[in-house]
């Protein structure tokens, strides 16, 4: 049976992928609760979702890297929505690998934003979804998390850790009626990747990835690569012998 989503929490709501998912759900009349760091941007997203048909849209302004805020933010989402039926975690940063190597504090910041913060939020959300006995938890990992590459391993490690966390969480919540979805996008044309050269068949739009996320949520998938061809690419990359892999300039 196709799941429907009428009350949805979106963390990192101003990200391009989060907006794409939220627009699709808003057009179907969902109520959304948006969490992000920048009040002006959140307001622009809120107005957009209301105009597209959201039954309601509320916002909470917070820096999600501040782990101490998480319990309160999740509590606030339940106050705003009643019993949410889905939560999307879409916050994240794409750090400069060389910068992380030169300055460990930058690596720390990237690991907090991409692993520690989402894992901490997932912990809070899992307890509440488990208690209410239903819900869908969606977090955005990355194809970069499937194998460590020299050009991007701080980001990759954080996303890989998040995927492992989600795997375990999926096992824990499976019997409790709560569904956990790991999304692994490839190259997505968003502001986060604005500095990278683009074009070519490997790049996808945020809309395409957003559509894929909503479809995966509906059918209750556990893990989805977006677009789907990345599953094949990663299958190959994961199975390359290490002796070869470490020589690749990727």
């Amino acid at each position: 049976m196709k799941r429907t989503f009428e009350r949805v929490i979106v963390f990192g709501a101003t990200s391009a992928i989060a907006q794409a998912v939220a627009r699709t759900l808003a057009a179907r009349g969902a109520r959304v609760h948006l969490v992000g760091r920048d009040a002006t941007k959140l307001e622009a997203v809120r107005a957009d979702l209301l105009a597209r048909g959201a039954a309601a849209a509320t916002v909470a302004v917070a820096d999600l890297d501040d782990l101490a805020l998480h319990a309160g933010l999740v509590e606030g989402a339940w106050v705003a929505l009643g019993q949410p039926d889905a939560a999307l975690l879409a916050q994240g940063v794409l750090p400069d690998q060389a910068g992380c190597e030169a300055d460990t504090s930058r690596a720390h910041a990237a690991m907090i934003a991409n692993f520690l913060a989402p894992a901490s939020l997932l912990g809070e959300l899992a307890n509440r979804f488990e208690a209410q006995g239903h819900g869908t938890l969606v977090a955005i990992g990355s194809v970069a998390g499937d194998r460590g590459r020299k050009t991007n391993y701080v980001y990759g490690a954080a996303k890989g850790g998040l995927a492992t966390f989600l795997q375990g969480l999926r096992g824990r919540l499976h019997a409790k009626g709560v569904h956990v979805l790991t999304v692994k996008p490839g190259f997505v044309d968003t502001p986060m990747t604005a500095h990278l050269p683009k074009g070519g068949p490997l790049w996808a739009s945020a809309e395409r990835v957003g559509d894929g996320i909503v479809r995966a949520m509906e059918r209750g998938a556990s893990e989805v690569y977006l677009p789907g061809f990345w599953r094949l690419i990663l299958l190959v990359l994961r199975h390359l012998p290490e002796a070869i892999f470490i020589r690749l300039k990727i």
Partner: protein
């Protein structure tokens, strides 16, 4: 991406210093190599949305709706929103865009900056006739809200202003109500050019949409033969259907131009079968009638790596029969025309912009595979016929008209130059404003 930015025609190929996305309408312009130019979905055919050596500001991330009043049909949205996305939004509420060009894959900002027109120009005018107001972000950091009564000079300079007055961040549009998205289309065979003028005069009084397709390879007595279409929104029960997904696409560019003369002859012969001796009615989804080519993604790739040139002109009504005959004869003789030849009579509603292209008269649009110097020579020849007839060439479609041709068609260009943001320019503007 920097090297990859091409306009729809694929010519010219130029390099940009950078392509930077604009994502939030409240943010200032980024620090970047100047000159700057906003670019949307790159459906301009030539170099009017290119900025060689400078920075393109990509606006497609500015695609949020700000307010949509379903009772009044007022829509305020960011300027990077595509018309296709707006149709999907407004149709279920019983509204429709009052003017759209031949593709829905353009942005609102681009529609204003080129003051686009559609098959209903004779009743609805141009896109800007339905723009209530917009915000312009200038390189000095100022934000100007422009409307017919507020900053009216900047309003008319920005309409059809080719993006040269700054970045349009958002716009407010007045939509039109519809009861049905389906379109009732009547088609009729058009034996020659004379028939077009009679048919257009009759149908423009009774039908919202009129357009003709012509076989640009026909010569002699058959010159200007083709198919005339008149259409209106279907009446009867309320049936509102948003567009279906595009099903076909050209996935890769063929190594050579696939639009060869035999292919065009075949296409034209088949297309002409649509025209019957008496009016024949069909009911089509709006996108099939208004945006026939949007059904095939990246159709421009069929022209191959060399790309193609479009030539769209307007000539005053009195001069039209003679000028069009002369142009069609030149094209048929050269044997270079493409399958997509469109003829449409503009109405008399004066355009608002300093550089708006539509004006009373007849507009002819032709695609030409770029085969080298002879293609440029043919188009130059067509330009001379247009200029002699007192007409103009559409900047949004152009990659090569001479400064003299441009100035003859757009004598108010010096006024736009005065309102141009000093940090903004385009490859087109530098080309056509250089000393002749």
């Amino acid at each position: 991406m920097i090297a990859g930015v091409r306009s729809w025609g694929g010519y010219p190929a130029v390099e940009h210093a950078a392509v930077l996305p604009l994502t939030w309408r409240h943010e200032n312009l980024p620090a970047a190599v100047r000159p700057l130019l906003a670019a949307g979905l790159s459906r301009s055919y030539g170099d009017s949305a290119l900025n060689e050596g400078g920075t393109l500001l990509a606006t497609t991330g500015l695609d949020r709706i700000i307010r949509f009043d379903r009772a009044t049909g007022r829509l305020q949205c960011e300027a990077g929103a595509s018309l296709a996305s707006l149709y999907a939004l407004v149709i279920p509420a019983g509204w429709f865009l009052p003017v759209a060009p031949g593709t829905a894959n353009v942005t609102v900002g681009g529609a204003i900056a080129n003051d686009v027109h559609g098959k209903n120009h004779h009743v609805a005018g141009t896109f800007a006739h339905h723009v209530v107001r917009f915000e312009l972000l200038r390189s000095d950091g100022s934000r100007r809200e422009c409307s017919p009564t507020r900053e009216p000079d900047l309003f008319v300079a920005t309409i059809g202003g080719l993006g040269l007055t700054g970045v349009i961040t958002w716009a407010e549009l007045q939509l039109r109500p519809i009861a049905a998205t389906d379109i009732e289309v009547d088609t009729l065979a058009m034996p020659g050019l004379d028939a077009f003028f009679e048919l257009a005069a009759g149908a423009d009084a009774t039908h919202e949409y009129t357009v003709a397709w012509i076989d640009a390879l026909a010569q002699g007595p058959a010159l200007g033969r083709g198919v005339f279409m008149r259409a209106r929104h279907a009446e009867g029960p309320r049936t509102l259907r948003a567009a279906r997904r595009q099903r076909l696409a050209v996935p890769l560019m063929p190594p050579v131009c696939a639009v060869s003369r035999p292919a065009v002859l075949t296409f034209n012969a088949l297309y002409r079968l649509r025209g019957t001796r008496t009016w024949k009615r069909s009911v089509q989804p709006y996108e099939a009638f208004l945006f026939p080519l949007d059904g095939i993604g990246n159709w421009n790739r069929l022209y191959g790596p060399a790309g193609f040139l479009q030539h769209q002109c307007v000539v005053p009504r009195e001069a039209a029969p003679r000028a069009l005959r002369e142009m069609l004869a030149a094209i048929a003789k050269a044997g270079q025309a493409s399958p997509l030849t469109v003829l449409k009579a503009f109405g008399d509603l004066p355009s608002l912009g300093l550089l708006s292209f539509p004006r009373p008269g007849v507009t002819l649009a032709l695609d030409f595979a770029l085969r080298g110097p002879e293609t440029f020579a043919l188009l130059e020849h067509l330009d001379r016929i247009v200029v002699d007839a007192g007409g103009a060439i559409y900047p949004a479609k152009d990659a090569r008209m001479s400064p003299a041709t441009f100035r003859a068609g757009f004598p108010r260009w010096t006024a736009l130059e005065q309102w141009r943001d000093p940090a903004f320019s385009s490859s087109f503007w530098r080309r056509v404003t250089q000393a002749p």
